[in-house]
């Protein structure tokens, strides 16, 4: 390969150029291609935990958000095999928490829901875990509904790396992993969280919600009601 020619790999047969340091998903998104993902957000350092963005790179399965491409690498993403696996991962996330889309303010703006539509998930398939996760409504302006947490840790990263606050953290282990807030009382009201924090606006699902603005945009007119997530993976949410 000549020096001045930009390195590239192929994604489902399409040539994707990439710059040094970019991961597969970063290069793919820059080229306008969609790879399903939840814990990845282009504004943050890749994390690699949800595994939705799993692709086959030169025949080996890997998370495309953390994997750097190599020149000429053959990456497969939109295949029946991989989409079946992604659907199973989504189903795991649905049964692990308590997700009742019809009553959720985030419906239509939720990346978990939109990705499930994108991948034609028709049922949760597995038995529900029905975990007991009390809501934290202590904060005057914001509500935390842990029932919907998928442990992507975007709020943890945003609060720590952008806001410099550490409002959120993960505790517990394994299936008992859970989100906690930085207060002795365990309540959001007793942290220094505000609506101006980056952390208030990164939740891909419906955990961190602003109070008293519910349903100002009617269901049916929300971001993913208008365009599928593959067309606008990170839309600016109306009414936010």
């Amino acid at each position: 390969m000549s020096q001045n020619k930009q390195a590239s790999f192929t994604l489902d047969g399409k040539t994707i150029p990439y710059a040094e340091g970019q991961t597969i998903i970063q290069a793919a998104m820059a080229a306008g291609e969609y790879i399903p993902h939840l814990c990845f957000n282009p504004e943050f350092k890749p994390h690699g935990s949800c595994k939705l963005c799993t692709v086959k790179a030169n025949g080996r399965q890997t998370a495309s958000c953390t994997q750097q491409p190599q020149p000429g690498m053959v990456v497969e993403s939109d295949t029946t095999e991989i989409n079946d696996e992604r659907r199973a991962l989504l189903q795991m996330l649905f049964v692990e928490g308590n997700h009742f889309c019809p009553s959720c303010e985030k419906s239509g703006n939720c990346q978990l829901q939109a990705t499930a539509y994108e991948l034609n998930m028709m049922s949760p398939h597995f038995d529900q875990f029905f975990p007991d996760r009390p809501v934290d409504a202590s904060h005057p302006e914001y509500l935390l509904d842990f029932n919907r947490c998928i442990l992507c840790s975007l709020c943890v990263r945003a609060s720590r790396d952008v806001d410099g606050k550490n409002v959120f953290a993960l505790s517990g282990r394994g299936i008992k992993s859970h989100l906690i807030v930085n207060a002795k009382s365990g309540r959001l009201a007793d942290t220094d969280f505000t609506g101006y924090d980056k952390a208030a606006h990164v939740c891909p699902v419906g955990v961190i919600l602003k109070k008293r603005v519910g349903f100002t945009v009617p269901i049916g007119s929300r971001s993913f009601d208008e365009k599928p997530i593959s067309a606008t993976p990170h839309p600016t949410v109306k009414g936010a």
């Binding site: 690699g48 949800c50 049964v95 038995d127 550490n166 953290a169 282990r173 394994g174 008992k176 992993s177």
Partner: protein, 602 residues
């Protein structure tokens, strides 16, 4: 309030000073704090947060990750029954039930008077002398009803654990077969002297010639690892000994550290000289806490002999010392990058790799992480040369391997063999009869049946980190696999979706079969889960979590088929079982308290 915080400061401040207020030592500080107070009090977290300049969310996050750390009162006596399959086979379930009954406490709950709690824990590394337990993190083995009754009495009378009969805490080595390592009459400093005489680069060459491969199971070339790390750029280099021996069924490191600690530390020092490290860590699993004083004494002795510290053996440019860090009940910390996270005082979540520890390890500096047995073997190589070592074992697997043999055999314990030994030979030597199966390298390894007993222990046949659990014909291989699946569920770190949720789903499916609701549909589901976990999990734990089930389905299918009561899918939910709580509360068990249902024979 203020006086309470002062109380916590009273014991926390000396701990903080001892750890130089280093936030990297957070896990060690939390362990010491709990040792003092019994649990980690919310006010203690305030004080630590202030003193270490860490957000309390981070401290709670770390404390919440490790099984042996408690954020709520958990009793003056914290009893944990080791719950490996070998403990089960020796009757731990009965013993625990009896103890709970005698002391009026429910498993996993604090007693009403706050005196004690009783629960289970993953294998404590005492399979050769089980059933085993930990009381306030100190090991007690060879439990019998008699011993359990005595322990109940001691707890009732509130006798401090330190005053319990010494015989309770006796731990045997059970070395049954010695080869080059276990029979070596190692003299402190001799391997270092050999290195200095031969030269550093030349000794690295010998390690490469020896073809020594890592004894933790993965089998990476030790010489190459040391060479990569030596070449890696970094202000500091680090040596880490992985003594987080958590794989159920293995206990060789326990014996090596008890008898050959000097050799292990010297191996670390050889590595330090070769890669240019000034600091090393031994990460000791919390279950082996009882070895800590002994290991500290060995380190101190080595410092006195000028084999550790500044100017080792009179060389002004040879400075190296070793610190011991304790684990706190997290199997995943045996994974090298999770271990490094834990050394840095964080949650033990495996890192994204690459980069690998040899270039970006502890504090992102080049780091060698090797197994206890690997470091000990390097001393033999330094003393006798690489060619000698390569001449032992097989082509692909040089040297010897120490096996931890347990289960159904007459002589459980440690067996050291040159690589290439057959499974049949080991079975014959340990006095196993009527063997149905052997689980090699623990739940994440393989389970083999008699037609494979001619297979060999070697990297190109059956690689192993050392566990060798024997099951005779009376054992139910389904229950073996179910025990292992529950182990993985308990030990999953929770970072990635497939392992966090998948290990729970798998446990539920195995429980479903155990409860008589299985059908061929569930078989297919288990196989699908296996593919998913293998292809999408973040680390080896998730990749191997389905192995025990797949291996036993392939080899002991009847054990599963007898549980497939149904031809077609039935839900796991059992309406009659759901009423069991109501029956318990009302003290009823008559027919009227049960739903009518057909009683199919299983």
């Amino acid at each position: 309030m203020v006086s309470q915080i002062n109380t916590h400061a009273e014991y926390l401040d000396p701990i903080l000073i001892h750890h130089r207020h280093n936030a990297c030592d957070l896990l060690q500080i939390l362990i010491a704090a709990q040792d003092h107070y019994g649990y980690i009090h919310s006010d203690a977290i305030d004080h630590l947060s202030e003193q270490l300049q860490l957000p309390r969310s981070k401290i709670e996050g770390v404390a919440g990750f490790y099984s042996f750390l408690y954020l709520q009162p958990n009793g003056e006596y914290r009893v944990l029954f080791s719950d490996n399959i070998t403990d089960r086979m020796l009757g731990n379930t009965d013993l625990m039930e009896s103890m709970c009954g005698q002391l009026w406490v429910e498993p996993g709950k604090l007693s009403e008077d706050g005196l004690l709690s009783i629960n289970t824990t993953s294998c404590t590394g005492m399979c050769d002398q089980g059933p085993a337990m930990l009381v306030n993190n100190i090991a007690i083995n060879r439990l019998t009803h008699e011993r359990v009754n005595a322990i109940c009495e001691l707890i009732r009378e509130r006798v401090p654990v330190s005053a319990w009969p010494a015989m309770f805490f006796a731990i045997e080595d059970n070395i049954q077969r010695r080869d080059i390592l276990l029979s070596s009459d190692f003299q402190s400093g001799s391997a270092l002297a050999a290195l200095l005489q031969r030269g550093t680069v030349e000794t690295l060459q010998e390690v490469k010639i020896s073809k020594l491969r890592g004894r933790g199971g993965a089998g990476f070339s030790t010489g190459s690892k040391w060479e990569f790390c030596r070449a890696a750029m970094g202000e500091q280099h680090y040596v880490v000994c992985n003594a987080d021996e958590g794989e159920p069924g293995t206990f060789k490191d326990r014996v090596l550290l008890n008898n050959f600690a000097d050799m292990v530390f010297e191996g670390m020092t050889l590595c330090a000289r070769i890669i240019g490290a000034e600091k090393g860590f031994l990460y000791l699993r919390g279950e082996y806490r009882y070895l800590l004083e002994h290991l500290q004494a060995v380190l101190q002795h080595r410092r006195q002999q000028n084999l550790l510290g500044n100017g080792i053996l009179g060389l002004s440019d040879f400075n190296f010392d070793i610190e011991i860090h304790l684990g706190a009940g997290a199997y995943i910390c045996g994974e090298e990058s999770a271990l490094i996270e834990s050394l840095e005082g964080k949650r033990g979540t495996p890192r994204n790799r690459p980069p690998f520890p040899v270039t970006h390890g502890y504090l992102n500096m080049p780091t060698v992480v090797n197994n206890v047995e690997t470091f000990a073997a390097t001393c033999l190589i330094s003393l006798q040369g690489g060619a000698w070592y390569a001449g032992i074992g097989t082509d692909t697997s040089s040297g010897t391997k120490i096996l931890s043999v347990s289960g159904d055999c007459e002589r459980p314990g440690l067996y050291e063999y040159p690589f290439g030994v057959t499974v049949a030979q080991v079975l014959s030597d340990c006095g196993a009869a009527d063997t149905q199966a052997v689980q090699i390298s623990g739940p994440s390894g393989v389970c083999i049946a008699p037609d494979e007993f001619n297979r060999r222990i070697a990297f190109d046949d059956i690689p192993t980190a050392g566990a060798f659990m024997v099951f005779n014909q009376s054992r139910d291989m389904f229950e073996v696999a179910r025990n292992f699946v529950h182990f993985f569920k308990h030990e999953s770190c929770g970072f990635c979706t497939p392992c966090r949720v998948g290990t729970s789903l798998l446990s539920n499916m195995m429980d479903k079969l155990a409860h008589g609701h299985g059908s061929p549909y569930d078989f297919a589901e288990i196989e699908k889960l296996n593919v998913l976990l293998q292809s999408t999990s973040h680390c080896g734990l998730g990749h191997s979590a389905c192995n025990p089930v797949l291996d036993t389905i392939a080899r002991f299918r009847p054990a599963y088929e007898m549980r497939l009561a149904h031809k077609n899918f039935v839900p796991a939910f059992d309406l009659d079982h759901a009423l069991s709580q109501a029956r318990q509360m009302t003290g009823r068990d008559d027919t009227g308290a049960h739903l009518e249902r057909s009683h199919e024979s299983k």
